[in-house]
């Protein structure tokens, strides 16, 4: 590296910047899973599953609950994968009382 370059570019490979970026990502991720899940998320997941099961036969593994925290607000993300059903059974479920009829 020439004199010119070494003088005007203080440090060409700032690995500390990389360290900080990686840490910010991993720490945010670990804080999210640590603070989001312990208390009510498992119970919420279980109850939601029970409600959904009244209408559609879904499995425990078909429901994903994810809580994200951003500055000032939280996002609760629910992802329920409905099973591929025969049209007949879907029609059958329309007999059940549900929000659709309200």
């Amino acid at each position: 590296m020439g004199l010119f370059e070494s003088f005007f570019r203080a440090s060409p490979n700032k690995s500390a910047v990389l360290a900080k970026e990686r840490l910010q990502i991993i720490v945010a991720h670990e804080r999210g899973s640590r603070r989001g899940s312990p208390d009510y998320l498992p119970a919420l997941k279980k109850e939601l599953l029970e409600v959904v099961r009244k209408y559609v036969p879904v499995d425990q593994s078909q429901i994903k609950v994810h809580l994200d925290r951003e500055a000032g607000y939280e996002i609760l993300e629910l992802n329920i994968t409905l099973p591929d059903e025969e049209p007949r059974s879907r029609r059958g479920s329309e007999n059940l009382p549900g929000p659709g009829q309200a």
Binding site: L3, A10, K14, A16, V17
Partner: protein, 270 residues
């Protein structure tokens, strides 16, 4: 009313025992009746750092098991008045530290001491959890390095959820960051996380920055807490840290390099 302070980090080798030894010594030097307890059952080392390894007769687990009383186990420091050391047991039985036992010993120590410093083992196992469970305040020792910062963040999570204060819904454990093994010239060069970087990630107040210094190893070789070494930059940094803990408003030293002049930058290399 005694204050219980845990010195913790998650990661090993970052300077917990060095910090515990100097912090407790500094508090005692300033006139406070202080006891420092080694919670590292099976890997006792605080005695060695404090230079009292040959005076250990009974230990923490002996007291918990009722095999000795506190007065028999506490080692009075020969250099500093008001300072006592309670060594860890070398037993391999990690179950030896029971919550009830630790609580009983701490309650007895509260009668006679103003500050109880708990030197935590590394990790997040029983010894570490016991060391932090009863804490009122925590010194989180971190090095400017990715794995140490990540582990410190994890320990902060545990302090916030699994300490007695958290479980009982009391005021949270008061957290302090101790950034140890800091090399300002490497941070300036961009090779090392800076004080600001670590503060931004961990988000807890900075109590002290301890510079990387050969005197830390030298003093541990001699069994003298580095805070007692005259002329040591790390020792002076620990002195400032203790004063800050006790409420003094001191600027942070040893966090900047001496600025190089224009000509030196041009011709002096690196």
């Amino acid at each position: 009313m005694a204050t219980v302070i845990v010195v913790t980090s998650g990661k090993g080798g970052v300077g917990k025992t060095t910090t515990s030894a100097s912090f407790a010594t500094g508090l005692a030097q300033r006139g406070y009746r202080t006891v420092v307890i080694d919670f590292d059952v099976g890997l006792r080392n605080l005695d060695l750092i404090m230079g009292c390894e040959r005076r250990v007769v009974y230990d923490f687990v002996n007291i918990i098991n009722g095999e000795a009383n506190l007065n028999q186990a506490l080692i009075r420091d020969k250099r500093v008045e008001n300072l006592h050391i309670l060594p860890a047991s070398q037993t391999r039985d990690k179950e030896a530290l029971t919550r009830e036992g630790v609580e009983r010993v701490l309650n007895e120590l509260r009668q006679n001491f103003e500050y109880i410093v708990c030197d935590s083992p590394a990790g997040i196992e029983r010894g570490a959890l016991m060391a932090l469970y009863f804490a009122d305040e925590a010194l989180v020792v971190t090095n400017p390095e990715v794995s140490s910062v990540r582990d410190s963040d994890r320990i902060l999570g545990i302090l916030a959820s699994r300490s007695r204060r958290a479980e009982q819904g009391e005021l949270p454990v008061k957290e302090h960051l101790v950034l140890a093994r800091y090399a300002p010239e490497r941070a300036d060069r961009g090779d090392m996380l800076s004080v600001e970087d670590v503060l931004e990630i961990l988000g807890i107040p900075l109590l002290g920055v301890i510079p990387e210094s050969p005197t830390v190893l030298q003093s541990s070789n001699a069994g003298v807490p580095v805070i007692l070494e005259d002329g040591s930059d790390a020792g002076a940094a620990y002195g400032d840290l203790v004063d800050r803990f006790l409420g003094k408003n001191l600027p942070h030293r040893f966090i900047t390099t001496q600025k190089k002049g224009f000509l030196k930058r041009l011709f002096g290399g690196g």
